[in-house]
Symmetry: C2
Subunit: 701 residues, 2 copies
Amino acid sequence: MRTPLDKTFYPGSIAVIGASSKAGTLSYELVNNLVKYGFKGCIYPVNPKAASIHSMKAYPNVKNINEDIDLAVIMVPKELVLDTIDDCYRKKISSVVVITAGFKETGKDGISLEKELANRIKKYKMRLIGPNCMGLINTNPTVKLNCTFVQGTPVSGGIGFVSQSGALGAAVLKTVQQNDIGLAQFVSIGNKADVSGNTVLEYWWHNDDIKVITLYLESFGNPRHFMELTREITKTKPVIVIKSARTKAGMKAASSHTGALASSDAVVDAFLEQSGVIRVNTTDEMFDIARAFDMANLPKGNRVGILTNAGGPAILAVDECANWGLTIPELNKRTQVALKKIAPPEASVFNPVDVLPPADAVTYAKASKLMLEDENIDSLIVVVGPPLMLDTLGIASAICEAVKGTKKTVMLVMMSQDDVIPKLKEVNPVHPPIYRFPENAARAISRMVTYKKWKERPEGLYIEFDADKKTINKILSKYKGKSGIYLNSEDVSAVLNAYGMPIISSVFAKNTFELIQISDKIKYPVVLKAVGKKLIHKSDMGGVEVDIHNSDELLRSADRIIEKLKSYRAEHLLEKFMIQPYVSGGVETILGITKDEKAGSMIMFGLGGIFVEVFKDVNFKLVPVNDVEANTMIHSIKSFEMLSGVRGKKAVDLKYLQESLLRLSQLSKDFPEFTEIDLNPFVFFDEKEKCTILDARIKYS
Amino acid sequence: MRTPLDKTFYPGSIAVIGASSKAGTLSYELVNNLVKYGFKGCIYPVNPKAASIHSMKAYPNVKNINEDIDLAVIMVPKELVLDTIDDCYRKKISSVVVITAGFKETGKDGISLEKELANRIKKYKMRLIGPNCMGLINTNPTVKLNCTFVQGTPVSGGIGFVSQSGALGAAVLKTVQQNDIGLAQFVSIGNKADVSGNTVLEYWWHNDDIKVITLYLESFGNPRHFMELTREITKTKPVIVIKSARTKAGMKAASSHTGALASSDAVVDAFLEQSGVIRVNTTDEMFDIARAFDMANLPKGNRVGILTNAGGPAILAVDECANWGLTIPELNKRTQVALKKIAPPEASVFNPVDVLPPADAVTYAKASKLMLEDENIDSLIVVVGPPLMLDTLGIASAICEAVKGTKKTVMLVMMSQDDVIPKLKEVNPVHPPIYRFPENAARAISRMVTYKKWKERPEGLYIEFDADKKTINKILSKYKGKSGIYLNSEDVSAVLNAYGMPIISSVFAKNTFELIQISDKIKYPVVLKAVGKKLIHKSDMGGVEVDIHNSDELLRSADRIIEKLKSYRAEHLLEKFMIQPYVSGGVETILGITKDEKAGSMIMFGLGGIFVEVFKDVNFKLVPVNDVEANTMIHSIKSFEMLSGVRGKKAVDLKYLQESLLRLSQLSKDFPEFTEIDLNPFVFFDEKEKCTILDARIKYS
């Protein structure tokens, strides 16, 4: 077992190796930050050339320090890093942060240096943050650790923030300071030679100082582990992620920057959704939401009350609420009557409640209390318009007092009153999250409601259907050693049948002669298909004829197919004919399995034809999926209406569709050797018995 | 002719009627703002109870002032406003701003007071801003007018900003000051009793101080005029709009707040797009884009270069560029070689160019110059990561010098360096627009590229086809005096034929007997339809039979239709049968006309069936449309691929589709009495001759 990160985040003593006495250098600024922020333990600067640094005794080497060291911060030139790690090991230091850059991010030599660093860390059973990172912060009052070289002082709160980009981390640290956003802990993980985002997630999961976890990521080292981890963590703590490098161009830029392999954005979306993680696009959005989780109660439902002294901002709030599925119900009559008594006669008391520009602290406080007592609303957004000559500090403070102790969700919007916020914090250290614009508050509430629903969703069951694994293992033995090849039709049918998936029955004929022989033994109408290992796009080449009613038509169809293939110069690819019952009606769907290089097997669902070709209306999840996830996949395609019945059509058997997804997921989990499965189309009807797979491909590799 | 707004925005003298000597009142703050900002003309406070205000002589009434007054700012109690207007008229003041509230927004009494105010203004040929507004600003150095009671000092620039909401206007004024966004003029138009957003637009159109126009609107008084006006203005100046009250809930809140009728958001989107207006959702977004237009050159194309000292922010910039259709091309070899010489060996020189964290002012300046000289890029985003111990002011200043005089588009991103911006402005008063995050710069460039394309688009022709108006007038005479009724099938066909639209030919039979008589005279295959004025949803009731091949089938179909209608107890609604040629294949579209209460007739286009029912994939424009607009309508549906040919299918005759839209538009323009026209389906084929309307409805009212 490697040691956990306690000594990294909660050190009692720190050695800063490579500390400089020269102001303006990174290592000077780091020591300066440690001292200025008031680190509660002892700092030991290490520098062979200085006697004292920042008025503290400096040591030539870490081994010269007599006391125990919990954490070593290494800022020496890259050539000296490995020796320094050895020194730390001898000094029995188990936790190190390597700020020094010049590793993986710089090319070949850097990569091998980083490998050696990682090896030594592993061998020594140490924990390493970095290299090429910007340090870490812990605002816990018993620790007071600002081990970064970023300007400014962190504001303390309940947010944990992991940044894969140093520059972005630094930018965010400044932004959160200016916006009254409270951090519990921050860490810049740099090149992730040892500690990754996942390691920190695991550590913060059970850390009581952290109420909400935020991450800026450019790549996932182990997406599957991330998914499994966050799926558990989000049961108790919200996790908010920015994953950049979303576009192809962005991925290219990221991989030249970090050297990491990127998963496609659809895959990332899939497993983030599957794990209950809140995905956002910008840091502003991330911290708007994070501070809501940190400073406000989780809303019971989606009903929002709005209190304002200006109409315009209220409209913006209502629009944004409605966009995100929140409702703005009318207040109950009792509340309206009570509000009428305290508000000016022209005030609107339905919801939004507009107490008009001259509203003072007393009116705001009373109105807030009344609205929070109304059982029609779950959350309250209080908007204080831009200050004219009003004492908005007094108003804000009165609101903070009035809402204290409520179990509902409260957001305060102080429009353009950045100057009021620090003063308000002094008067009311405990206050609702404060926003500059009402839209941001509305959006934050909507994300909280979504998270609430996620937390309360049924857990989901991984259902195991009876399956004939023996048959498949027998088939697999034929393909062993091969790679990237498609199973033949008989094997495809056998595999699907082994997992209870209804592939349409087929009869084969090697040539026209055989076709004639069987033509009067089969039940019409049928479909005739050209079959050949290399005839992948047979229907595009006219290799499929449908709705054949008798043996005459069958033979004519066979002639037509041969003609068409000839016109494509593909007749030599024809190995045999396949005859299947003709199925008409129903809804064509696609169920499939693909493999993402990093995340592993993904299950896919969508409707066939133009839905997938024109609208790209498909849905992915990591395998295996449980019953709840399978259901979500079905319901979250845009064209779901086609399944539930449009224009009086009957709904398809959704229960059976769900079961089919679960069976496919199980097959993929049991036999990951099948890297691509394509059930296209899988036609669904209102009755389970009619549902059938008309065509299927399975790739082995 | 009413006087223009020159005296409002460029007054030589101002009377502040209702000025107060009491600090902390709105009227005191307004005079204080006028004086503090250094108004270049004379201020005359009017207050019957004070001898002096703000050290200036106060007058008991405006008529006691001997000098000419250009602009009167009225802040008296609402009961005194009308008398004050009379006083102003006598004093020959032609421009007034009424700050006083308590008018339309407060209900019945207020509405009639405002009506009277508007009447008097009209009678006196004055121009009025307000009532219930927050004043106006003009930063022109020869005027220096801050006629508002908002805190802070405006920063001067080329942006004109109209706000329908006072509170939002005030919030924005503070925000723009903090963010180095330069205003030329600002006006809060309040209740719009006289001067509306359109009036200001018209005034700013030819005002040289205004480079870009921004508006915050909650409702449109005259959307058609707005559209016609902005369509012209955007040929020379960009117009950016926030239109709130987008959702039903938002509209409800807005109408209770402003009493105005709201157009549906789809209609608003339609005419904003048609007029080249840039629509945004938030004020941050609006001014991010506005200052780009104000301070940067319009890009020649969509190719962006990115220069950075940190990888993370560059990825965010690339992602955002790619999302908005901008490209990040590789730099040419010459530039790469030159960059290699000035950058550290590990630097990346393709694009994004990463000069690494220690990059200094010289490196940044040289790299900027080199990249701007590269013919592969049209725009440059320079990102300066958050300051560690670097002199970012020096870096920023060097960049400003290096890019001076370029004809390309340059954006500067100073991550988390709000403190550097005011200092930079002192050193480099002329500088590129500065952003806090790279995404914002990328988005601004994308909007500039879109605007550039709009400016350069072909103007578009309003084509007049030959039309038989006489026939239609004859038909109309039958319907005169009626309202809200649907034309009968014969009239529908006649109207469409009169405008050259190919409705399918029909034969009618009043009963089965007539049907038998004609059954051997028609060309098969045919379609049989039940017809009746009240049989609107005939196909849902089984009232349509298709692909009928002979007279036997025809009679059997008639029986089936009668049976079906009986089962719906609708057989008494059947007036006659209609027989039409059976058309199969092609792409079903919907072309239509609807009427918006405020904007007037709208033309609609989309594909039929699930495309409109499930995906709501339709497109609106105000009638009339020109050829370019018709083409845009066709190309901007999401399912356009269905028209241009999917999976080897031939494209439909797009030219003829365009023509059909133009013919429909012309019909609607010529005969607005037809408030609803529904050509559904209008089937298009690859050959014009095959295209036909299978069913049509026309409503007269």
